[in-house]
């Protein structure tokens, strides 16, 4: 019993719980553990997954970003419209990435240089950027002319669709950034104590601007992949994405008060969200109930984390 407690409350507790949950779902839900379903599951979490790595950095530095959903939609629109205007998919993709980075950099500049609270800043840009997406397309979905564009989401590599590879690569890269770069360690230090970090020589302002710019870049990539998958630019796509991404991070043990994050946790968080939705679909559970279950999962995860950190503090 004590052993079990230690396993669940330990460092890798989340991974253990995930493995157990996965095994139970695989055994109980028919058609779950099949190659087709697994690939479908992974593809369904690509948008969340691609943005979650940069959101991890953002939360770990004690910041917050509500604008990711809007940026994904906006840069998706830009990818489609850019391709149609110029006749070149590459130009469209470049435009999407640039617009993502631009919005992210604006977020970062306003937050770090003008010292406006991140929650308020991104609440504002979330609406502004959604507005831009709607204005640019007159509120309509816009189809893609060039078939190369939707091949992006379909091209398999070693039997696995390209977007899943992109997501996997983003996890690896963000894990590396967090653990092995000065930038990543500075992000965690800023989350732990911003004032002390500044006095220790960390350039807090520029680090925060970079975090948001990178967040914008990842939203741009996610926007391209999403637009390619749904074969059009849709100004209303990815609504509520910010909440799913933050949920995934929190599920993965990223502390909202900053300074604590692991990439393995975030990966598990993203997969838990994906599995829950996938299993409910396979079990034909009505979509309305899925909201309920997602909320409950989040609550339980946070409770568990709370118990864990209290156990840690007692141990200290």
């Amino acid at each position: 019993m004590i052993r079990l407690r230690r396993l669940i409350l330990g460092d890798q507790g989340l991974v253990v719980i995930f493995v157990v949950a996965f095994a139970i779902v695989a055994l109980l839900v028919p058609n779950f553990f099949t190659e087709r379903n697994m690939l479908g599951l992974l593809q369904s979490v690509v948008t969340i997954g691609v943005v979650s790595g940069s959101m991890m950095l953002c939360l770990a530095s004690r910041d917050f970003d509500l604008s990711v959903g809007s940026i994904v939609a906006f840069s998706g629109m830009m990818a489609v419209m850019g391709s149609n205007w110029t006749g070149s998919v590459a130009a469209g993709l470049a435009l999407a990435l640039i617009s993502g980075v631009a919005v992210g950099a604006v977020n970062g500049l306003v937050i770090a240089r003008l010292r406006i609270n991140a929650l308020i800043t991104t609440l504002a840009t979330m609406q502004i950027v959604r507005g831009l997406a709607l204005i640019s397309s007159d509120g309509r979905a816009i189809g893609v002319n060039d078939p190369v564009f939707y091949a992006i989401a379909l091209t398999p590599l070693f039997g696995i669709p390209a977007p899943v590879w992109v997501m996997a690569a983003s996890f690896v890269i963000f894990g590396f950034i967090l653990n092995r770069t000065v930038f990543g360690r500075n992000v965690l230090a800023i989350g732990g104590n911003p004032d002390a970090s500044r006095l220790a020589g960390v350039n807090v302002a520029s680090t925060r601007i970079w975090i948001f710019a990178i967040q914008g870049l990842m939203c741009g990539i996610a926007g391209i992949l999403l637009a390619s998958r749904i074969t059009s630019g849709q100004p209303n796509s990815a609504t509520g994405l910010e909440l799913s991404v933050i949920s995934a991070c929190v599920l993965g043990g990223v502390s909202l008060s900053g300074g604590r994050a692991t990439i393995s946790g975030v990966v598990v968080g993203v997969l838990i969200l994906g599995i829950a939705e996938n299993a409910m679909n396979l079990l034909n559970i009505q979509a309305f109930f899925q909201y309920l279950v997602r909320g409950l999962i989040l609550l339980v995860a946070v409770l568990l984390d709370n118990i864990r950190s209290r156990a840690l503090r007692r141990g200290a």
């Binding site: 092995r180 000065v182 360690r185 732990g192 002390a196 970090s197 200290a316």
Partner: protein
Amino acid sequence: MTAFLRFADISKGFPGVQALSEITFGVAQGKVHGLLGENGAGKSTLIKILGGDISADAGALFLGDQQCRFGSVHEAMNAGVAVVHQELQLVPELTVGENLTLGRFPNRAGVIAFNALHARAAAALAEIGGGIDTRAKIVDLSLGQRQMVEIAKAIMFDARVIALDEPTSSLSAAESDVLFGLIDRLRKQGKVILYVSHRLDEVFRICDGATVLRDGRVAAHFDAMADVTRDQIVQHMVGREIRDIWGWRPRDLGAVRLRVEGLAGPRLPNPASFAIRSAEILGFFGLVGAGRSELFRLVYGADAADRGSSAIDGEAVEKRPDRSIEAGLVMCPEDRKADGIVQGRSVGENIVISTRRHFSPYGLISPRREASVADEFIARLRVRTPSRNQDIVNLSGGNQQKTILARWLAEPYLRVLLVDEPTRGIDVGAKSEIYSILYDLAEKGLAIGVVSSDLPEAMGICDRILVMCEGRIVKEFLRAQFNESAILAAALPVREVEAAAREFAG
């Protein structure tokens, strides 16, 4: 005389450390009892057990004949035990009256009866001497007044035992005087006062008896302070004899390293100028609020300056923390918790946070190199930690301070070190170690600036002292001219002179 508050064989262990072993002693009613010991000796743990923050593994706590076991702070308060922590537990945006009645607002159907509330609060404040408006917000009070409110809170709960943890650490001399008057009053009311402090002169001044803890055990217990001398207490605290804790040695001073010219900022309106020579330790003495920390922060670039300049070895320095570090000028801030340590990160991480830029090509860190640097400086400064991976918040104040010093000593190119209150809240043993680190650095030719509110310390370790008063550098003393009362007199604004004179006469 029977003890009212009794600790009987209290033990408490944390993983890896036995914090308290069989603590046994008692304090009678109407007595002020000092609780002394180095950091890590177990004082805070004992206070936490008394206050219901944590529970003991073994042993018993008695109030009168009754054995108590507090499961929470609330239970302890209801039983008549109040702990006044260093960090006060007040809600800054609420009024004094609201703070005093928090959780028990007099009300009618949920609507607060403000007249009754303020009457109750005023009654409690009157009992401890009054003088504070119950309608004032906590943010508008001085630290000394806030402390009085905290003590009044204890009175509201009808506390019979009041523990004060380092109550004077951020008070001015005059405010401390008021506090001592209040403690005396509580003594006469028959309360048991447990007084935790590092300042032995205070303990001798107001305590009736004292208990010294060392390594979680009772090292000595005195029912009367007349039975013991200051030196004996220090010996019990450190377990060995300390002759000269300052250990100052003469040094040959070099050319001017740091020159500050007319520096002024929002919180230091009067321009300040000074210079520190190579190998010199220059002290900045003054009362709390004299502008010493503000000056250091301007020099380092922690706060933006309005005007003025500074130069190291003749080269101008841009005033921004990262540029200062590049130029070899570093600062250990006054408030370790707020500005020094990065909470939640490891000791090693706290050491290499700045210096890692020298061995992280293309921004990629080298875990092996970081580990070896961290281990090297943990060993060199004798930071007491189970490993470099320990979260820094679990270290004692002295070891946190050493970690921050290590952060700067790891810099390959140091020219100026500014240390703000290097030994505040640090025990005697660690103090000597920190002083000898400063001497070593000075001997290597660094220019060192030290802010200290502890006059014996400033006089003990500095080659020269600049006295600041109300935002200005008012006087300079060379080591040969050091004289306690002259330095203090220079530091006091005219209206404070009287209060201090009283303190020194007493």
